[in-house]
Every structure is written in structure tokens, then in C-alpha cells.
């Protein structure tokens, strides 16, 4: 037996806020109660009349209003964007750590001094000891040109794109990160010169299209698909790095 129909049901019926099942129950009730039905019809009529009256298009807003709306829109968009940037800060910090680690093992892109050195990388450096265990299991050792995306995926859960023809892998490394592992591939990428492709697990699920971040001497284009964040770093022109990053990100889809 269904719940008795109460005043709130009539109200919600008129306002179209009932699920189909409850609607039918109300309609059954109305079919047996002409008085209530007449009242509901009157309410529906009033509602529709009000909607119709207020549906008339408004005159174009004043320029000042449009200006104020645009200003607010931009402020809100910027806020959203900077939130994404903050989420990415963890990744950028890891990139910083990647450069630091390269410095330690005598690898990496040439301008490691120019990279930002966020204080968190010290903490990350401690984690790297734990990650050494994983590295020991892997075929691709330091200074190896072996690049086996399938193995990396099995070992770290990080999916990497197939690299374009003509890219020569110089090194593939697993590093620690806050939320699992991260992988860094160093490659000689033809016209792009030496680039590094960094991929890591990040805590916040998000989808971010390739976005460029410029540092002193290097540029990073980063993007995120779900829980995996990627960053392509190099020193060639913005456009060239962006194009390469876009190609890689598409291959991941």
C-alpha cells in the first residue's frame, strides 16, 4: 500500500518535483477527487501563466551590467584555473625532484640548476630509497635505452604513450611520488632536442588538457587524465613542445 497523499505531494506535483511512481499515485488520487483535481488544475494554470508572463525576452542588458558579468566570469574562471594549478603543484614539485635526481646520478637535462627547487623535493628524495626496490626489479636500469611501456605499466600502473618515430630513449627511470610511483623517460627527440617525459600518480582525479608552464630555461607542458599526470619538459620552442605534448596525450586516449 502506498503512502497517503498529503498536501506536500500536491505541491510537488504542481512543481514537477515528484518521481514518476509518486506522480501516478497522486494522479490516481486526483482521478477520484474532483475537488482536489480542480484545485490542482487551477494551480497548474497559475504556474503556467506565471511562466508565460516571465518568459518574455528581456531587453538587452546595459553595457555596465555585461561588463560586471564578464568581470565576474573571468574572476571565477581564474579561480578555477588557479585551483587546477595548485593541484598541479604537486606534479611540478615532482618534476623538480626529477631534475634533482638526475643531478644526483649524473643524468638528465643539462640545466638542472635552472629548475625550480621546491622544498618538498627533499622529502621526496627520502621516498626515493623505497622506490629503489622497484627499480632493482626492472630491466630498464639507469642509463639504459630500454623503453618498455608494458613493463612500466605492470610495475607501476602508469600508462605511457608510444613514442614518436625518431625519438631515441636515453633513459627510463622510476621515481617515488606522493601517490605511488612516477616514471621519467629521457629521450633525444629530433628537432626538440633532449626532452623528458614524466608521468606520475596524483591524488586528485581530474582531466586537464595540455597546458604549458615556463621555467627559467625549460618549459613543461603538463596534462592529466584521471589519476595520471604527465609532463613533457624540454628547452626548445613553446610551440614545438606543445605540439609534441599534444601528440603524446592523444596517443594515451
Amino acid at each position: 500500500m502506498s503512502d497517503p497523499i498529503i498536501e506536500a505531494d500536491f505541491l510537488a506535483y504542481v512543481d514537477d518535483q515528484l518521481g514518476p511512481a509518486r506522480r501516478i499515485e497522486v494522479e490516481e488520487h486526483l482521478a477520484r477527487n474532483p475537488e482536489a483535481a480542480a484545485r490542482i488544475m487551477s494551480d497548474l494554470k497559475d504556474r503556467d501563466t506565471l511562466r508565460l508572463i516571465h518568459a518574455a525576452p528581456l531587453p538587452r542588458p546595459a553595457e555596465a551590467m555585461i561588463g560586471a558579468a564578464v568581470r565576474l566570469e573571468r574572476a571565477l574562471e581564474w579561480q578555477e584555473f588557479s585551483l587546477k594549478l595548485r593541484r598541479m603543484a604537486a606534479v611540478v614539485a615532482l618534476i623538480g625532484f626529477g631534475w634533482f635526481a638526475h643531478g644526483q646520478v649524473g643524468l638528465g637535462i643539462t640545466d638542472s640548476e635552472a629548475s625550480p627547487k621546491p622544498p618538498v623535493f627533499v622529502e621526496d628524495a627520502l621516498h626515493s630509497h623505497e622506490t629503489a626496490l622497484v627499480r632493482a626489479r626492472m630491466v630498464s636500469q639507469r642509463e639504459t635505452a630500454e623503453y618498455d611501456p608494458a613493463e612500466i605499466l605492470t610495475e607501476t600502473g602508469i600508462r605511457l604513450p608510444p613514442l614518436p618515430d625518431g625519438w631515441q630513449v636515453r633513459d627510463a627511470q622510476v621515481f617515488p611520488s606522493r601517490d605511488g610511483h612516477s616514471v621519467e623517460i629521457i629521450a633525444d627527440a629530433g628537432d626538440l632536442g633532449r626532452v623528458s617525459l614524466f608521468a606520475a600518480h596524483v591524488p586528485v582525479f581530474n582531466v586537464i588538457d595540455p597546458t604549458i608552464a615556463r621555467f627559467d630555461e625549460a618549459k613543461t607542458v603538463y596534462w592529466q587524465t584521471g589519476q595520471l599526470a604527465y609532463a613533457l619538459t624540454g628547452t626548445s620552442s613553446d610551440k614545438a613542445i606543445e605540439r609534441a605534448a599534444l601528440r603524446l596525450s592523444r596517443k594515451l586516449q
Binding site: 480542480a38 487551477s42 497559475d46 501563466t49 506565471l50 508565460l52 528581456l58 582531466v207 586537464i208
Partner: protein, 182 residues
């Protein structure tokens, strides 16, 4: 980027302006109110939660802006209300339905502010109860009781004789017969 126009304030101007008109009952005041709302929203845009409901957030700021500056928005509104009433009598309605439109609109505008606000958000803008209640800063139960009272008043207005209005006697009023109601 997968949702390119999430911060569509421009697209929300119409709902804001409509709501402002129902609150102030005056076009000029309504436009001022929306303008003030946009300025206030800009000042406190940091309070907008990421992924939150932009429409509800703006409607709520508009409502509060109106309440805070009510005396200012109302004082002039009263004067203009008379002008609007004049305009109404000046334009002869073409059809009976138009007469009825004007009656319903007049009854709606005469509702107490709280009921008018609730009815506007739910009936005209089609907001879900929860969203309307949030915009008004009241519990859903309170919203529903305001809606109930607003509807009863509109119904009563149609069923009863329109004392205040019919005294003008300029044109025949559409009278609804029946509708056994309070």
C-alpha cells in the same frame, strides 16, 4: 576544458534579472539590484566553491543584496508601482486571456515578499526545492509552506471578487466561477 562554459555568468543574467524584477517589482530597481549583485559576487568570488552551483550561488547573493538594501529598492518601487498600475490600465487588453495574465501577475506581485520569492524560484525558474531553499537560506519545509500559502492566495484571488481591482470599473474582469476553496 571538457566543460567549456562552466562560469557562464552572462547566460545567467536573464534568470537574475527576472528574479530581481519579481523581488523589486520595478524594472529600474531590478537592473540596479542585478548590477549590485554582480559587484558583490565579484567581491566575494572566493566564496564560490569549485564545482558548486553558480546559478544558486548568484540567486542567493541577489536575494541577500535585496534584503540588505531593501529599504532603498522598495522606496522607489512603491512610487513606480503606481506608475506600472497606470500603464496597465492604459493599455487595453486584446483578449480575455490577456486580462487574466495581468490579473495573475498582479496577484503574484501583491504576494508577501517571502512567498513571492519562493514561488518565483520554483514556479518560474523551475528550481528544485532544495536549490530554491538554499538560495533563500531556508529549510525545504519552510519553502514548501511558503509555496502552499502563495498558491492558496493566487487561487483565492481568482476565485474571489477582485475588490481592489474591480473598483476601477474600466473594463470587464474575467471572473472564475467555482473552485471551491479557501
Amino acid at each position: 576544458m571538457n566543460d567549456p562554459k562552466r562560469m557562464d555568468v552572462i547566460g545567467l543574467l536573464s534568470p537574475l534579472r527576472r528574479y530581481a524584477r519579481s523581488l523589486t517589482r520595478d524594472e529600474t530597481q531590478a537592473e540596479d539590484l542585478v548590477q549590485d549583485t554582480l559587484v558583490r559576487a565579484y567581491e566575494r568570488h572566493g566564496s564560490f566553491r569549485s564545482g558548486g552551483n553558480l546559478r544558486g550561488w548568484l540567486l542567493s547573493i541577489l536575494h541577500n543584496t535585496f534584503i540588505d538594501g531593501r529599504r532603498r529598492y522598495m522606496a522607489e518601487a512603491r512610487r513606480l508601482e503606481q506608475a506600472a498600475a497606470l500603464a496597465e490600465t492604459a493599455a487595453p487588453p486584446a483578449q480575455e486571456s490577456q486580462v487574466r495574465f495581468q490579473q495573475v501577475q498582479a496577484a503574484f506581485l501583491q504576494l508577501p515578499l517571502e512567498q513571492r520569492a519562493a514561488l518565483h524560484l520554483v514556479a518560474i525558474e523551475g528550481l528544485p526545492y532544495q536549490e530554491a531553499a538554499d538560495a533563500l537560506g531556508i529549510p525545504v519545509g519552510t519553502l514548501m509552506s511558503r509555496l502552499g500559502r502563495a498558491r492558496a492566495t493566487l487561487r483565492g484571488f481568482e476565485a474571489g471578487t477582485h475588490l481592489a481591482q474591480s473598483s476601477e470599473g474600466k473594463r470587464p474582469r474575467l471572473r472564475i466561477i467555482g473552485g471551491a476553496d479557501v
